[in-house]
């Protein structure tokens, strides 16, 4: 295959060649960046919550007086536990994907704030019911569950996640170590593999796992949110029954319809906008590739009809159909290649701009060759129909009116 004649033919059509190459370049830049964003959104959606989501649900009620908290907790726990299929009911401050309870700055020396983890509280047996996986230490024993003084016990023995341990004491075991938040002291007795923030805001997996579990006695501020555990196959039925039963257990409180769901449902709701954005990006990519292909088809058809006579002459001089076909395909390959070279530069540039202004990750560089291959294939497919039409030009055309 000789490239030289193709290149000199393209030189005669600098403008059209440049246009298609530019279109390919832009398409390449958008394609690669949009794909990277889709992958980013989808991987964010697979965040490890650290709990047995398939077996868990939450019931949240509001609109009661704090003075009634103990009575309400007792009635709710007893009433919900009586539902057939419920394995356990625990009073908790919040659940992953639920409404956040609170974040507080913590210090190691009571002076310098290190970071702001989110705090979970729960009554006896909560870590086991959540299904937290310990990597070191132990679960809280019965006497670790202490009464609240306002929002927290004054001094508590807590579980923290591995990510938070790594942030507070890099490279060291956190067991037995202390940290502070204001006047409240915390001593680490266990290290959990994962426990995500209830509503993390895309600071990445690392920050999303900066959490503390404080074992506490239910009552006072710890009331109104109930963690229900059931077998995964029973969960939906149990939660439907639980939502309905709240009106009977406590007619004077208000069920929070937004957060009283199974954890899988809460997860789906939490990521609804990410899913919509990913869908939109897929739509853009499809439309983009479609428009680019149409542009190639349009221009290739024009060139084929413009060169019908030349093709006829070539055929008359002995060129095979294969020769003509491969001429147009090589030509397309060259144009697309120009576009890709330009597009790779655009893609990296756009990515740098996006990284500065939006929460967008660095483009993994292996996306670039993949994007290039996709565009090469798209180009070859788009040019196929016009090229086949060119290959079917009969040699006799050459002899017609010159």
């Amino acid at each position: 295959m000789q490239i030289q004649p193709i290149v000199s033919a393209l030189r005669k059509h600098k403008l059209a060649t440049a246009l298609i190459a530019l279109e390919i370049a832009l398409a390449c830049a958008v394609l690669v960046n949009a794909t990277s964003m889709i992958v980013g959104r989808l991987s964010a959606m697979h965040i490890n919550s650290g709990v047995d989501e398939a077996s868990l649900g939450a019931i949240v009620v509001t609109g009661f007086d704090p003075k009634q908290a103990n009575d309400l907790n007792a009635r709710m726990v007893a009433g919900l536990r009586a539902i057939p299929g419920v394995q356990s009911v625990h009073v908790v401050s919040s659940v992953p994907f639920g409404s956040p309870w609170g974040s507080m700055g913590v210090t190691l020396d009571r002076k310098h704030y290190v970071t702001v983890p989110e705090f979970y509280e729960g009554g006896p047996g909560t870590p086991e019911a959540l299904g937290l996986k310990l990597v070191a230490g132990r679960f809280p024993a019965t006497d670790d569950y202490q009464p609240l003084q306002g929002y927290l016990p004054l001094s508590s023995r807590v579980l923290i996640t591995r990510a938070l341990a790594e942030k507070l004491w890099p490279g060291e075991s956190p067991l037995g170590k202390e940290f502070w938040s204001g006047k409240n002291q915390f001593r680490v007795i266990g290290e959990a593999a994962h426990l995500m923030m209830s509503q993390y805001n895309e600071e990445g997996e690392r920050g999303a796992q900066w959490t503390v579990f404080v074992p506490t006695q239910p009552g006072g501020q710890l009331s109104g949110t109930y963690l229900i555990r059931a077998k995964p196959q029973d969960l939906n039925r149990v939660m439907t029954a639980a939502r309905a039963k709240v009106a009977k257990i406590a007619p004077d409180v208000v069920l929070d319809h937004d957060y009283s769901h199974t954890l899988p449902t809460l997860r789906t709701k939490f990521f609804a906008t990410d899913r919509a954005m990913a869908g939109l990006l897929v739509g853009v990519i499809v439309a983009l590739l479609g428009v680019t292909a149409l542009g190639i088809v349009g221009l290739a058809s024009f060139w084929v009809s413009q060169r019908t006579k030349q093709i006829g002459i070539r055929r008359a001089l002995g060129a095979t159909r294969g020769d003509i076909l491969s001429y147009f395909q090589t030509e397309n390959f060259l144009i697309v290649s120009f576009g890709i070279v330009l597009g790779v530069t655009f893609a990296i540039g756009i990515n740098l701009v996006l990284m500065r202004h939006f929460e967008v990750a660095r483009l993994p560089y292996w996306y670039l060759p993949v994007g290039a291959v996709v565009l090469w294939i798209l180009g070859q497919l788009a040019v196929l129909a016009p090229a086949l039409r060119a290959a079917n030009v009969p040699p006799v055309v050459a002899t017609r009116s010159v």
Partner: protein, 441 residues
Amino acid sequence: MFTYYLDLAVRSLRRNPVLTFLMVLAIAVGIGAAMTTLTVMHVLSGDPLPGKSAHVFYAQVDSDPTPGYKHTEPPDMMDYRSATDLWSTHRADRQALVTVPKPLKIRASDSSLPPLMEPVLFTTSDFFPMFDVPFEYGSGWTAADDTDRARVAVISSDLNNRLFGGKDSVGKTLRVRNADLRIVGVLKPWRPSPLFYDVRGGRFANGDTAGYYGKPEGVFAPFFTGLDINEGNFWWFNCWAMPKPGERMVNAPCNWVGLWVQLDSPAKVAAYRTFLDHYAQQQKALGRIGYTETRLRDLMDWLAFNHFVPSDVKLQTWLAFAFLAICLFNTVGLLLAKFMRRAGEIGIRRALGASRRAVVAQCLTEAGLIGLIGGLGGWLLTLVGLWLVRQQQTPYSGLVHMDVSMFIVTFVLAIVVSLIAGALPASRASHVAPALQIKTL
């Protein structure tokens, strides 16, 4: 001449329907994507208080007494003492305190409906005139009601529909938590976009600011009444120390009150700035607060400071315009093909005496016609796109509609894009050498 060119353009477009369709499609799809996102941007980035936003300001003083940190910005709200000190001087033309809205248990005393949780905003009487809040029945409460801690409330039209079937409910009683409030006013449907007086904390939101476009609260009640009926149940923006169990909000080491002021002249704005600075310096001298940073941003500045347009929406707009650019390149290529194929025809026109400008005009007429048809398609696709946006579960999905200005922009953008696309091919076509073309005929 224009009608003649138009006639030529229609003929030319008809001659090659497939190519015409491809070009119209490319423009329509590009315009559809661009206008969908532009309309969303237009709706979300608009001025929620047109004509008045330049006179409405948000005041900030840094109430944190604990030394040691570098505070580059005062917190987004103030503690009780600072906020009420500033409010009670009445130095501004109008001033209103606001709290963080929180759902409270509501029931209408003469309604059989079960209790419901409805966000309640505790504020002061100037809130309604300052923000031009429209009333269906009754009115806001008086300045005397503020200081007398009157048990009164204003409800939204939405809540009035739910509780009282939309009838005039002024004078009826609304039970909020354990207190009975007399309804003094019912609002007309009112949906500022964004819900500007609740905007805060945007710099910590990572661009996830869709929540700023929610509905206004169902219940508005006097701030000082709230101290009586909602003690221990307020939300705060942040605290510099852990509130003690049972500590009253008026003493809590927390920032939980915002102050909006209306200042009608630049001189008053400057005077108020000085007033804020003096207050902060005086309080620092007294040792009550640790910093003297103050801010007085007007409404739009405050919104911009909070990066109020969700970053997803901005990203989508950039994406849509990149897409439009691709469609543009595509159309340039196709138009080039189309015009150059007619080189013979153009050569004859030129040989018969048509000027280059005439050829350009003819080509641009054709491009403009494609833009017009593409704009029509783009408008339909925009309507589809906006419908899709409305199907999404975002707080602003109900707000997004096309208005007259965006309708006009759609067609202007389509025609401008097509003329830009046509410019290069038209100039190429006008440079066809007549002699060469006629020779080959």
